[in-house]
């Protein structure tokens, strides 16, 4: 099995989002970077498949030099190598898809190509689909379940009433969602191994963008809020109720 997972470096936001003065970007001076939870699940899934069936997991990113950190995080989870398309510019979804397609073609063939359902920052919901279209591959989106065997994939989407189950022949593309699995924490040896795994980096030029960003606006939110559920033992039922709602109890 050869599996490729596409990941994107995004800021970790938690507090109020602060924009740069020109409103063109978010202020990231105090922010860390990561990949989206969807993509983490994608990497974890790919690693599990290869651990069980043999093969190779390649992670691919388009992003600034610092995005190598994210490739190493994926390799600490178990991916074997990284491909880094290096660019400091901001790419729209169409251009991203085109660049990824080119990189994937150069490395083909892959049995399975995994995307997150949507990136954590832009949330365009389209890069995976554009890539599938360009490569002429079947795609199943928004997966919460995936079983790969005998050249086929069984792909499950969560719906309001239950699950839709698809079967698709490989090679195929899937976009996945958080909840697909519970990604592992990298171990110390895995972290250290990741530093020694290969990353092929190559600069890429951005084609003229067909989308123009005017400016970013932070929607008026409620900010951080704390709700006191109660004090002492009386708080317990309220806590249990929240846990139920979150699906952890």
């Amino acid at each position: 099995m050869r599996i490729l997972v596409a990941v994107k470096r995004v800021p970790i936001t938690g507090g109020r989002i602060v924009l740069t003065d020109d409103g063109q970007a978010i202020q990231t001076r105090h922010l860390g970077f990561t990949i989206s939870p969807h993509e983490e699940c994608g990497v974890e899934e790919a690693v599990r498949i290869v651990e069980a069936q043999g093969g190779e997991v390649v992670v691919l990113t388009l992003g600034p030099a610092e995005a190598e950190e994210q490739l190493r995080e994926c390799m600490a989870i178990g991916a074997d190598r990284g491909i880094h398309l290096v660019s400091d510019e901001e790419w729209d979804a169409q251009a991203t898809a085109a660049a990824l397609v080119e990189a994937i073609r150069a490395e083909a063939p892959f049995d399975l190509i995994v995307f997150g359902n949507e990136s954590a920052d832009a949330g365009n919901y389209q890069v995976g689909i554009r890539v599938a279209y360009a490569l002429g591959l079947p795609i199943v989106t928004g997966l919460k379940g995936l079983v790969v065997s005998d050249g086929r994939a069984r792909a499950e989407q969560e719906t309001a009433s239950g699950r839709d189950v698809y079967e698709v022949g490989l090679p195929a593309i899937v976009t996945v969602k958080e909840g697909l699995n519970l990604p592992r924490y990298p171990s110390v040896p895995a972290k250290l191994r990741a530093n020694r795994k290969p990353v092929a980096a190559q600069a890429v030029g951005r084609p003229p963008s067909r989308l123009q960003k005017l400016r970013l606006v932070v929607p008026a939110g409620r900010g951080k809020q704390a709700e006191i559920l109660g004090r002492g033992p009386e708080a317990a039922p309220a806590v249990v109720e929240i846990m139920r709602r979150l699906g952890v109890a």
């Binding site: 938690g14 109020r16 105090h30 922010l31 990298p186 040896p189 250290l192 900010g223």
Partner: protein, 841 residues
């Protein structure tokens, strides 16, 4: 929530509800203060400061007595509040050099009265911490009382105690945005929830403290800095443990790391990475912070080597693929230019106090001490090294703070020599003699920013001249930051004469019609002396212990010149300022940068001086302990006949721009008499110790009184002075300890190397038991150094009275071995020239 503005004026406003602020409000209430207000810009109980993500462990043993006392007091409070969990802790050594350091830890533990510590073999470490690989270590230092605390819970308990007394109002999510100052005093605090009048504001704002102090025009010189920590788990070894911590905390000293159990996980922290400093302005607000304002995103690349190092020490846990890295932060804490806290009233603004750069391990002790200082004017634990008034202006600059903090960071677990010098930001304060000293091969040590020669390489010839009289040091540790040239310069001074650069003295004049009353109030000894007299005097705290010791020259009816050591000078200046009469009848002018001081001492000093002046400098006309202006060649010089090295001679004061000329004159005139340049190695150690002169911060501190220090000469003066009542009481009872001079009888260690104590070593009975006085104070070496003229190594130490007997034989522990010593004097009588014939010749 009530608006702040609706409250009556507060007796004190405490800003910051971290470990320090919470502790402080409780102790202020305990001491009877009411109408206290505690503010924090974040939500409670975890407002987002450093306390919220501390690893919360405490190792009691430190080489600093002050820090150890604060930590022990804090542990006592944590235990009483039921938030302390004892786990034990082990500092492991990977190298022989570190093993030596662990022997010194043993000595410090013994000196400060911490029992139960012991050195462990690698196998013994393994028994206590089964998951470490004992093959990479050579031993360990075990402290059984190490433990962890719940600092957030403790904070809540402390607030609640003050609230239960009805003494405290707490305002969370209330940011201080301004502090008003009227006539040099705090008057009002402005917040996002209104204003409040108060005369006392305490800044307990951790890494934000510089910003808050600046609102009042004061400076709290610290920098926010990163300390990295990760959390791994689940650890199979902890599967069956039920508490948060059951295994000893391990400090891997040589890699600057620690590993401590946290439930099923293991926290791994590091002080090994490059110093990562931030500006206080740069900290995100509570709202904008992704996690908390003091948790910055983890920078993985700074932790790579640390993972390797940790893996090497605990492969059983960290080599396990099932143990994952669950959490990793760049936590933010405070660093200061000398590594010590910033405590006390700021010298810039009355009523504005700092309680910053404090760790969880000292928080409650600092809270108690600051409360005592505010309410009673002094704290039980001497805070002299942490006093925020210690800094000169040049030591508060952003670049200085950053340079020293960066340099100090990687020494957090370092093996730091007691005389170790800083590398960064040197050559800031240069005396007018500096170029001459450089030509003479001076080796400079820094004090208070000043570069001071410690010895001169140009004196190398003296080594031949004095040959065997100079003890060479065989062991590397004692030879570090030392030279036999110090002893050679000492002997040349005793035989001929030596010149000393004393420019680092802090000098200030107290003037005006109220000047006499002002200085009389602060000094223990009489200052109603004739103009031209010099008085050496202790300065006492209200409880009659040492606040300082210094000399005062009466230059006129209404002018007193105070001369004190550079290191503590700024704190002395503040103490005098704080005691000026309220009616404005006396003023203080800081003249430190106006005058330079050249010391000239030795049997030939008078010959040298008289060759430069037609003024009468004979003993009859210019006796000991007097000062006057004389003309040396073309210069008018204030000559002051005292000595800290026990020789005939003078301190010569001139305006700083005339210093070079003064040096040249004395140098040229001195050459026919064999004058040598001599460094602070002589002035501060060998010369002073042969005369058994006490030094502030070594012999003299708040733990001992004047009688114990053997300095209660004469009678108590009539006018009132700070500490008088206590001092009189002390005179009426027998001292509980006596400051003695000891000499070392045999320096040979087991392997035959001769070893020389450097200070802070425990003094033991002949059977090796620590000596403890009736106030539970241990005997330890307060100062140590060579006595080249008497051919012995000299130690000063406070001993219980029954041991303070001339000829008493005792032991001193140094590097894990015991050396025989004998009490040479049991009062201030010196071991060299006990009749003081030389200074009076």
């Amino acid at each position: 929530m009530t608006e702040l503005s609706s409250l009556p004026p507060a007796q004190a406003v405490v800003i910051g509800a971290g470990i320090v602020g919470n502790s402080l409000v409780s102790h202020l209430a305990e001491l009877g203060w009411t109408d206290l207000v505690l503010l924090d810009k974040g939500p409670l109980p975890n407002p987002g400061g450093s306390t919220g993500h501390a690893s919360n462990f405490i190792f009691p043993v430190d080489h600093s007595k002050e820090m150890t006392q604060l930590t022990l007091e804090s542990m006592r409070q944590y235990r009483n509040a039921g938030v302390f969990t004892e786990s034990g802790g082990i500092e492991v050594a990977r190298t022989e050099g570190r093993m030596q350091e662990l022997h010194r830890r043993m000595a410090s533990a013994k000196a400060w009265g911490i029992d139960g510590v012991r050195l462990l073999t690698p196998a013994e470490v393994k028994e206590l911490v089964p998951y470490i690989d004992e093959s990479v270590i050579v031993g360990g230092f075990y402290s059984p009382t190490v433990g962890i605390v719940d600092s957030l819970r403790f904070g809540t308990i402390m607030r609640e105690r003050a609230q239960a007394k009805g003494a405290l109002s707490v305002f969370a999510s209330t940011e201080v945005v301004g502090i008003d100052v009227e006539q040099g005093r705090v008057s009002r605090v402005r917040t996002t929830r209104g204003e409040l009048e108060t005369a006392v504001v305490v800044v307990c704002c951790g890494v934000w403290s510089p910003l808050v102090a600046r609102m009042a025009g004061a400076s709290i010189p610290l920098t926010p800095a990163v300390h990295q920590m990760i959390d791994v788990g689940p650890v199979p070894h902890f599967k069956d443990t039920t508490g948060v911590i059951e295994f000893p905390i391990v400090r891997d000293m040589d890699t600057n790391m620690y590993e401590r159990q946290d439930g099923s996980g293991l926290e791994i922290g590091s002080y090994a990475h490059r110093p990562i400093l931030h500006d206080p302005e740069d900290l995100p607000s509570v709202e904008a912070a992704a996690l908390s304002p003091t948790e910055f995103p983890f920078t993985q690349e700074d932790f790579t080597q640390q993972l390797e190092d940790a893996l090497e020490l605990i492969p059983d846990v960290l080599g396990n693929e099932a143990v994952g890295i669950k959490y990793a932060i760049n936590g933010i804490l405070s660093l200061t230019p000398d590594g010590l806290p910033l405590l006390g009233e700021t010298p810039e603004v009355k009523g504005l106090w700092s309680a910053a750069a404090v760790w969880v391990k000292e928080g409650p002790g600092v809270g108690k001490s600051i409360a005592e200082w505010i309410v009673r004017g002094e704290s039980e634990i001497d805070l002299q090294s942490s006093d925020i008034a210690r800094f000169y202006d040049c030591q508060k600059s952003r670049e200085h703070v950053r340079a020293r903090s960066a340099e100090g960071f990687n020494k957090t677990y370092g093996i730091v020599h007691p005389a170790e010098q800083w590398d960064s930001n040197r050559n800031v304060r240069l005396s007018p003699f500096h170029a001459r000293e450089v030509d003479l091969g001076a080796v400079f040590f820094e004090t208070a920013g000043w570069e001071r020669p410690h010895w001169y390489e140009s004196n190398a010839d003296l080594l031949d001249e004095y040959g065997d009289r100079i003890a060479r040091r065989e062991a590397e540790w004692e030879s570090r930051w030392w030279s036999p040239l110090i002893n050679a310069e000492h002997l040349a001074m005793r035989d001929r004469a030596a010149m000393f650069d004393l420019t680092a003295f802090c000098i200030f004049d107290v003037t005006g019609p109220g000047a006499l009353d002002a200085v009389q109030r602060v000094a223990m000894r009489r200052l109603d002396v004739a103009p031209g007299k010099i008085v050496y005097t202790p300065v006492l705290s209200p409880s009659g212990t040492f606040k300082s010791d210094l000399t005062v020259m009466r230059l006129g009816d209404e002018r007193f010149r105070v001369v004190t050591g550079g290191a503590h000078g700024m704190a002395d200046l503040k103490w005098f300022r704080d005691h000026l009469p309220a009616d404005g009848s006396a003023q203080i002018a800081d003249l430190t940068s106006a005058f330079t001081t050249l010391g000239l001492w030795g049997p030939r000093a008078r010959d040298i001086l008289s060759s430069l002046t037609s003024d009468d400098v004979s003993n009859e006309s210019f006796p000991f302990a007097t000062c006057r202006t004389i003309e040396l060649d073309s210069l008018r010089v204030l000559a002051s006949r005292i000595s800290y090295v026990g020789e005939l001679g003078w301190e010569l004061y001139v305006p700083i721009e005339q210093g070079a000329k003064l040096w040249d004159l004395v140098w040229e005139a001195g050459r026919p008499h064999g004058v040598v340049p001599a460094g602070i190695g002589v002035y501060g150690t060998t010369g002073r110790l042969e005369k058994c002169y006490r030094a502030f911060g070594f012999e003299l501190d708040a733990d001992y009184d004047v009688i114990e220090a053997g300095m209660a000469w004469g009678t108590v003066k009539a006018p009132d002075f700070v500490g008088k009542d206590a001092h009189v009481r002390h005179r009426e009872s027998d001292p509980v300890a006596v400051l003695c001079t000891l000499t070392v009888d045999d320096h040979s260690s087991k392997d035959g190397t001769k070893r020389y104590m450097l200070g802070r070593e425990p003094v033991l009975s002949k059977s090796g038991e620590p000596l403890v006085d009736a106030r539970d104070r241990r005997s330890f070496v307060t100062s140590a150094g060579a006595g080249p003229s008497i051919g012995k190594h000299i130690l000063l130490a406070y001993l219980p009275p029954e041991r303070a007997v001339v000829g008493e034989e005792l032991l001193v522990e140094f590097m894990g071995e015991h050396y025989p010593v004998t009490v040479a004097t049991d009062d201030s009588t010196s071991v060299f020239d006990p009749e003081n014939a030389r200074v009076r010749s």
